[in-house]
């Protein structure tokens, strides 16, 4: 993958591979799950890059690799030009202030026994950014009002809030240390549409105000089209296609991207088509990915070469796609 020498490049993921060994079970030991197989992309400051794909495609694993919550098997993740894997504990701690995560389930990601104040102040206290309780409290209030919560609610517990408000608490916690990058792992999937719109608007506003970069992991293509500047489409641990959002949505290059876009139910009954082109077969297992192109078992365009040779990423202007037949 060509590396752009862009001084604003915040995050660089370089040919990252993550394999998990399967242990235990009955006869599974010795098998390997190929969760991420050679993924490369970059993310600029203030940009939103979406990782999309179906369950098991490795998008969440990718999010955790970016934060070094798990270690890559091979390859490098560079944040502001420095390889995370080679960093020692003190350096890593400093970098971690600059990258945060928001989780899907606002019910599971907040400790039910902590008050909102404690939850939001925890990163501040861990990193000892404020000297006194008054300063910390001031910062917590500021964060709460920024995400649309009232400061006088800070002594309440998570169960006293609705799903949308809890997601706001999660966002306030992520913002506490002024990060540059936030990994958003399905941040609105558990919310009702009207609340989802509120949270998406909030994320957009925060990006404009604070110059945040988002790595936005989602399976909801409508949300992705709305929020992201560029999109990465993943299938079975590999990149199919990466490029500017509008170009990918209006003219997908990779056959898998085409199927994915076609499958989304459109909120307009006039767009109903007699019969959709449906993807045949089942998702191959990441334990035993097919040889060659991982998509060849389900691809209608598949030919001999696809079974033998995994396609590399080819560039098409600002876009890249991994298919032997993309022109």
């Amino acid at each position: 993958m060509t590396r752009e020498e862009n001084k604003h490049c915040l995050l660089e993921v370089d040919d990252v591979v993550k394999e998990f060994a399967l242990r235990g079970g009955f006869s599974r030991s010795g098998q390997i799950v190929h969760a991420v197989s050679g993924v490369s992309f970059t993310l600029d400051e203030g940009e939103t890059l979406a990782l999309v794909g179906e369950s098991g495609c490795g998008k969440s694993t990718m999010g955790r690799l970016v934060l070094r919550l798990i270690e890559p098997t091979r390859g490098a993740v560079r944040f502001e030009g420095r390889d995370l894997a080679s960093m020692g504990e003190p350096d890593l701690r400093a970098v971690r202030r600059r990258m945060q995560i928001i989780f899907q389930d606002p019910y599971a990601s907040l400790d039910p026994r902590m008050t909102i104040y404690k939850i939001i102040a925890e990163p501040l206290l861990t990193h000892k950014t404020h000297k006194t309780r008054i300063e910390t409290e001031f910062r917590v209030r500021e964060l709460m009002s920024r995400v649309g919560l009232r400061g006088d609610q800070m002594n309440r517990y998570p169960h006293q809030f609705s799903g949308g408000q809890r997601q706001r608490i999660g966002i306030a916690r992520a913002l506490a240390l002024n990060p540059k990058l936030i990994v958003c792992d399905e941040p609105v999937s558990a919310l009702d549409v009207s609340i989802q719109a509120q949270i998406l608007n909030l994320l957009c506003d925060l990006q404009d105000e604070l110059g945040l970069a988002y790595l936005f992991i989602s399976h909801d293509l409508g949300v992705v089209r709305h929020i992201s500047d560029r999109v990465c489409v993943m299938f079975l641990g590999r990149l199919c296609e990466i490029g500017p959002t509008e170009e990918i949505f209006s003219s997908p290059l990779h056959p898998y991207t085409k199927f994915l876009l076609e499958a989304v139910p459109k909120p307009d009954p006039h767009m109903r088509k007699g019969k959709k082109a449906l993807l045949a077969g089942e998702m191959p297992s990441p334990v035993n990915p097919p040889p060659g192109c991982a998509f060849h078992t389900r691809c209608p365009q598949s030919e001999d070469i696809c079974k033998r040779l995994a396609p590399g990423m080819k560039s098409f202007g600002p876009r890249q796609a991994a298919c032997h037949f993309t022109q």
Binding site: D192, V193, V264, P265, D268
Partner: protein, 332 residues
């Protein structure tokens, strides 16, 4: 129109309340809804709007502290609310079946899927073992499960999410029910699988003369397969219309808000429309129109008095004063 002939399901003035320690929650409040033969009817709304409780009320599966307090539920002209528990058991899984969001939790992990599919027939159909097996195999291939004979012997954990949902549908369809209630059947599935399942449901509806009540929060799913739609909010029906009418000529501010807050597939806008505030608690409903505290067009009238469902013509009904005056005249 004689409702008994053309309607598979007719719910009239149904109210299901939950009697909690903190008060009475009217989860379903005076809901009238009909599902004509050979049709897919959508019931949409956000969490807590009463769509699932409506479905459970039809099956008489509301558990305490919930209770159906009034109304009528007719299946093919036959009243269900007066039936004994034994009679209801004859109807569930036989004349009315239901599929749920999460197929893994609704399948029994310790029995093969074949046994679970045949169970419904053994209970309702007086079929022999071999006959039941043949019909299960037939149904498995009808719902697109590859190698059906082999798959009958699989356990739920051996199947993918999409296949499990197909098993659930096979189980729901095997007695050729008059009505299938699908409660968020594709919410837990990936989009490519969702498209397959929606396609399958449409096919089955045409093939087996089964009406479908589609409960969902996803306007995309509604637009994709429903013929007629009810929009629910805080226990009430706010708007109901033919699918094209609803999308082309949306009237209720809540429905407009719901549609406006969908990240559009087609045009990119930086800001999404959002409905301010959140769904009210059923224990503390606002006076007047239940949507009025969140409605941008609310007037003092909306806050004092609740609007009825006004006829907007062409089978379109709206619970909103904005659409009351013009159509009152029309109706008379």
């Amino acid at each position: 129109m004689n409702p008994n002939d053309s309607q598979t399901l007719l719910i009239k003035n149904l109210s299901t309340h939950f009697f909690t320690g903190k008060g009475v929650a009217a989860a379903v409040d005076d809901v009238t809804l009909s599902i004509p033969r050979k049709s897919i009817v959508g019931v949409v709304g956000e969490s807590g709007c009463g769509k699932s409780v409506t479905a459970l009320s039809v099956l008489r599966l509301v558990s305490r502290p919930g209770r159906i307090v009034s109304g009528s539920v007719m299946l093919d002209g036959e009243e269900l609310l007066g039936k004994s528990p034994g009679e209801m058991r004859q109807i569930r899984g036989n004349k009315i079946s239901m599929i749920f969001q999460e197929p893994m939790t609704s399948l029994n992990p310790v029995y093969t899927v074949g046994r679970q599919v045949m169970e419904a027939m053994r209970i309702h159909g007086n079929t022999s073992e071999t006959e039941a097996r043949d019909r299960a195999v037939e149904m498995f291939s009808a719902v697109g499960i590859p190698e059906p004979e082999h798959r009958l012997r699989s356990f739920p954990h051996q199947l993918s999410g999409g296949l499990r949902q197909r098993v659930m549908i096979a189980m729901a369809m095997v007695c050729r029910p008059r009505l299938m209630i699908a409660d968020e059947p594709t919410t837990a599935l990936d989009v490519t699988i969702e498209a397959q399942i929606l396609n399958l449901m449409k096919e089955l509806e045409e093939k087996f003369d089964t009406s479908i009540m589609m409960i969902t929060h996803n306007m995309g799913v509604v637009a994709e397969i429903c013929d007629y739609v009810y929009v629910m909010y805080a226990g009430r029906i706010m708007e109901q219309a033919d699918i094209f009418e609803l999308f082309d000529n949306t009237k209720h501010p809540y429905t407009l808000g719901l549609l406006g807050s969908i990240p559009r597939y087609g045009g990119v806008r930086r800001r999404l429309y959002n409905i301010k505030g959140m769904v009210p608690s059923l224990l503390d409903l606002p006076k007047g129109c239940r949507f009025s505290p969140r409605c941008e067009q609310a007037t003092p009238e909306c806050e004092s008095r609740e609007p009825e469902l006004y006829d907007a013509g062409a089978g379109h009904y709206v619970r909103c004063f904005l659409h009351a005056n013009a159509n009152r005249g029309e109706k008379q």
